[in-house]
Structures are given as C-alpha cells and as structure tokens.
C-alpha cells in the first residue's frame, strides 16, 4: 500500500529560545498509508492539532522532515504548499472557519476561484456537493443562519470541492450535536470508501470504532501506534 504521509523526527517549538517557549511536538515519526482512516488521539495539549497543522501544510515544522507522496515538503516554498493544499488536501476545521459574509455555496466554491472556474460552474459544483450533504435548503444562507452541524457540512463541502486525496478533520465532533455526529461519520466513511485518506484528530471515543490506525500523543510525544483491521 502506498505511503501518503511520512514524518521524520518532527519537532514543533513555539517561541523558541524565549521564556514562553512551548515544545508542542517532539521527534514525531509516523507513516500514513493511502485510503486509511487515521485517528490521532490524546489529551488536550498533547499536540494533536499541531500535528494536523503540519501534515496539512498550514504550518511548518521547527525541525525534522515531512514527506508527502515521497516528496520532502518541509522546505517547500509558500507557492508550492498552496498548490498542495489546493489539489491534495481538504481541511475541516474544529470551528469550521467559514467566511461569515458569504452564503453557503460561495463558502464552498471560493477555493475554485484561483483555478479560473467561472461563476455558473462554481455555483453548479458547490450546489451539487451541498445537495449530497443534504444542505439543498441552505445553499443561499450565510453561516450565521445555520446550525453547528450544518456549518460543519458546509466546511466539509468546501474541503471536498477540489476532490482532494486526503481529508483532514480537526476535532470534528466538538461543536456539533449527536445527530450531526452521526451524519459526519457517514460522510467520512463514504469518503473513505471512495478511496480517500481520512485523518482525524479527536479525543471523542466514537471514532475508536472507525480508526484503522490510531496514533496516541502525550505531551508532544508519539506514545503509541495502534493498527486495526480494515472496517
């Protein structure tokens, strides 16, 4: 099975050399195979979100290397990293990070703008995804008029609009109700069944039934790796 992500002795230190220095990650080595449901677990402050940020290329490691499809991306330029995020990675943030001024369809469609996709096509593609996620009645609504679960589905739709290989979700159940969690799990499993690699950070035990590889972090150290049977 192809390795999609590999980290090699990755450190992340915030405010290095200052009194307020924080070592968020220490010497993390891990490997993620294609089409796996990967779960990153650990208590608060263990470095889960930091690790996801590094894998998703929205942050850079202090030391160590990160490989994506065998390429060392830790020294990639800003432009190269943007291209990776545009084509390969779909991000779902804990607090959704939707643009409050835009209606749902535009929130979903704006990653298509730099690709030169015209407005009608953007609208069509984003509406299709929103329909698949059962948000057909919320296409023209701004985030403030939607529930937490609906906002999260809009964020998922945005993450999927460019058909990425890897879908990364940070604490996806922390801001939604039980019904929405059920819908979320269905969506993630569906994506996994379509060949995507799913990487989720969460301390919610509900994911334990779904994770095929579980990385346990504690105080920035990778303490344990648990491999399970494919679901």
């Amino acid at each position: 099975m192809e390795t999609i992500v590999r980290t090699e002795k990755v450190d992340k230190i915030y405010n290095p050399g200052r009194p307020e220095e924080v070592r968020a990650l220490n010497q993390v080595d891990l490997e993620i195979l294609k089409n796996r449901f990967v779960l990153i677990r650990g208590p608060s402050g263990s470095g889960k979100t930091t690790l996801l940020n590094l894998i998703s290329t929205i942050d850079r490691p202090t030391n160590g290397r990160i490989f994506l499809y065998g390429e060392d991306i830790s020294r990639y330029s800003d432009v190269q990293l943007s291209r990776i995020r545009q084509k390969t990675i779909g991000l779902i943030f804990q607090n959704f990070n939707l643009l409050p001024r835009l209606p749902a369809w535009e929130n979903v469609a704006f990653p298509l703008l730099p690709l030169g996709v015209g407005e009608s096509e953007r609208r069509k593609r984003s509406t299709e995804i929103l329909n698949q996620l059962k948000l057909e009645k919320r296409v023209g609504h701004p985030p403030e008029q939607m529930s937490g679960g609906e906002q999260q589905r809009v964020a998922i739709a945005r993450a999927l609009i460019n058909d990425p290989e890897i879908v990364i979700a940070d604490e996806p159940t922390s801001n939604i109700d039980a019904e929405s969690i059920k819908v979320l799990l269905e969506i993630l499993m569906d994506l996994k069944n379509k060949g995507k690699t799913i990487i989720v950070s969460s301390h919610d035990p509900i994911f334990l039934d779904y994770g095929e590889i579980i990385f346990y972090l504690k105080e920035g150290w990778l303490k344990n790796v648990e491999r399970r049977e494919n679901k």
Binding site: N53, I58, D78, S82, Q86, L91, P111, L113, P114, N162
Partner: protein, 350 residues
C-alpha cells in the same frame, strides 16, 4: 481644493473687471498713499479713458475687522448688487456687507461710529447681496470724501485706478513708472509703484498657488501620516480580515492570488468612494455653503460663512482625489495583506 479654486476664480474675475493700471506711492518698497495731484496728470495721458482715486483701509467694527472702501459716486461699479436699501448719496451714508449686518444685526437707518475716528458718524443705507463676492461680506462702502475724512488723509488716496484703451496698459504703465520711477533731490514726492493688470493677475496667481501649495503640502503630510496610521489599523486591528486571508491560504490560495483579489476589491472601493467623496464635497459646498471648512480658506468668516462660499470643481483635483484614494487604500491594505499572507495560514487564522 474646490473652495480654493473658487476663490481664485472669483479673484481673477475681479482683477479682470478691475482697472488696467494701479498706481500707489512706494515707501520703502511697500504700497503707500498717493497724492491726488497726480489725477490730472494721469487724465491727460494719451490712451487713458478713466482715472479713479480710491481709498481702501481696514478698521475694527466692534471686534470684527472690516474693510472700508471709499469711492466717488460716479465710479460705483455697475455690477454691485444690493440686497436691501440704496447706494450712498449723502454725507455719512454707508453700504454694509451682509457678514457685518448679520453679525451685529444692523438695520437700515442705524447710525454708528468707528473707534478709529469716533467723531465721524455714519448711517447704514443699504446692504450688499449675500451672493455678492466674498470680499463684500465685511465691507463698508462709502463716499471718497467720507473715507478721506475718516482716515484723516486729506489730499491722498490709497491708490489710483487707471482705465485705458485696449493695448495701452503696458505702454502707459511703463511711461508712468519712467516719469515718476525714482526720487530725486529736487522732488519731495516718493517714487510711484505702478502695477498693470497682468502683474496684479500674476500676484494673485502666485498668492493662490502659494496657498494651494500650502494646502497640498498639508494634504501630503496628512496623506503621509495616514499611510502608517492605516497600516497600523489594517495590520493589527482587522482580525477578521487576517482570519479571512488565513482561510483563503489554507484552502489553496496563493499569496499572489490573495493580493490580486484585495487589490481588485480596493480598486472597486476607491472607484466608488472617490466619486462619493466628491459628491459629498459638492453637497457640502452647495447645500451647506461649506460650513465649518470654509474658514480654513477664507479668513475671519467663522463656522458659517455669511456669504456664498465660492467653489469650483476642476477635473485635475478630482482626478488627484481619486488617485490619492486608490493609493491610500492600496498601500494600506496591500502591505498588511502581504504581511498576513506570507505567514503560515494557521497563524493568520488564530
């Protein structure tokens, strides 16, 4: 800028409609009263059509500085418009500007004296129109004799205005200057100072260009100060904007693409805000008569001008306003955008 242009325009019209040559005495390089004995001499010169002595002085009307103009009744310009009353006819009659009339609630028939010469009594017989030129607002117009008496300047005028036939002005000015250009031991009179219309016009132009220059300099300073202020505001204050840029970058936008989008947004913003600013200026000047701002361009008028504030909207200042608006918004927002877009997206989204 519009007010400055308006005053300049009105000044130049006044100069254009005025005399062809202005003659005064020259005391230590400054204008000084001229003897009325010159009147006959000037009248006899070839090409002269009219010679008008005039007294222009300043004095306090209560606490307000007023301009006193004394002219002969036959030399009252036809263009003068009165809002009320009549022109002066008898000794002591004066016509008062709307600014003074409004401030001191003057009435037709009111008698008053001025502290500079309290023995001289005046009577208000008319008021200038509010739409007359800005110089008439604090003006007290009276007969030449009354002005002479008031300023105790027997046999003198502050200047002599000479009207000439077309084409004679420059030649006559040179001739007058030549005849009385320098003091000689056998002459008690000081030399004359002769200014023709083109020279006066140049003085006005230079004066207004200087004023406009000062205003432009202040504007530039404000502009220069506004840029760092805007940078501070946009760089540190706009958390939402920072977050938006972080989200754009996190979803695959490149720094250049973010910059292009912000530049386009700002260009559209400038395109709409510059005409809006000009429209606001027009409304402010035409409907509210430049309230509060006219005082920066016209001395001693207070918050509300008692006359119609002159204004002109010229294309070049309007264009500059637009360009400044574009530059200001572009510099402020593009720099802060670039700063935000070049840090890791996760930091921008915090």
């Amino acid at each position: 800028m519009a007010i400055s242009e308006g005053i300049k325009f009105q000044s130049l019209i006044s100069v254009e409609e005025g005399a062809d040559i202005y003659v005064t005495s020259d005391y230590f390089g400054s204008n000084a009263p001229i003897s009325l004995e010159y009147l006959d001499h000037f009248r006899k010169m070839d090409g002269v059509t009219k010679v008008v002595p005039r007294i222009v002085g300043r004095t306090y009307f209560a606490n307000r500085l007023a301009t006193i103009v004394g002219i002969l009744p036959e030399n009252i310009p036809q263009s003068i418009r009165l809002a009320e009353g009549r022109m002066f006819r008898e000794k002591g009659d004066v016509v008062v500007g709307k600014g003074l009339a409004k401030e001191f609630i003057l009435q037709i028939g009111l008698r008053f004296s001025l502290s500079a010469n309290s023995s001289k009594l005046f009577r208000v017989v008319g008021f200038f129109d509010a739409d007359a030129s800005i110089w008439s607002a604090n003006l007290i117009l009276m007969s030449f004799e009354d002005a002479l008496e008031f300023f105790r300047m027997e046999g003198k005028a502050t200047d002599i205005l000479i009207y000439t036939r077309p084409g004679y002005a420059t030649i006559l000015a040179a001739k007058i200057q030549e005849e009385a250009g320098a003091s000689t031991p056998d002459r008690s009179e000081p030399p004359l100072r002769v200014q023709d219309k083109s020279l006066v016009k140049r003085y006005f132009q230079r004066g207004f260009n200087y004023k406009a220059g000062v205003f432009t300099a202040l504007y530039t300073v404000a502009f220069a100060l506004a840029i760092p202020a805007l940078l501070i505001v946009s760089g540190f204050g706009q958390t939402e904007r920072r977050k938006e840029i972080g989200i754009l970058k996190a979803t695959g936008w490149q720094t250049q693409e973010v910059m292009e989008m912000v530049a386009f947004e700002n260009f559209i913003l400038s395109l709409t805000s510059a005409p809006l600013a000009i429209l606001l200026a027009i409304v402010w000047l035409k409907w509210f008569n430049g309230a509060f701002i006219a005082q920066f361009f016209i001395a001693e008028i207070g918050l509300m001008a008692p006359f119609s504030v002159p204004s002109r909207f010229m294309p070049i200042p309007c264009l500059f306003s637009f360009i400044f608006a574009v530059i200001l918004t572009m510099v402020g927002s593009l720099y802060s955008t670039w700063k935000t877009a070049t840090i890791p997206p996760v930091e921008a989204m915090r």
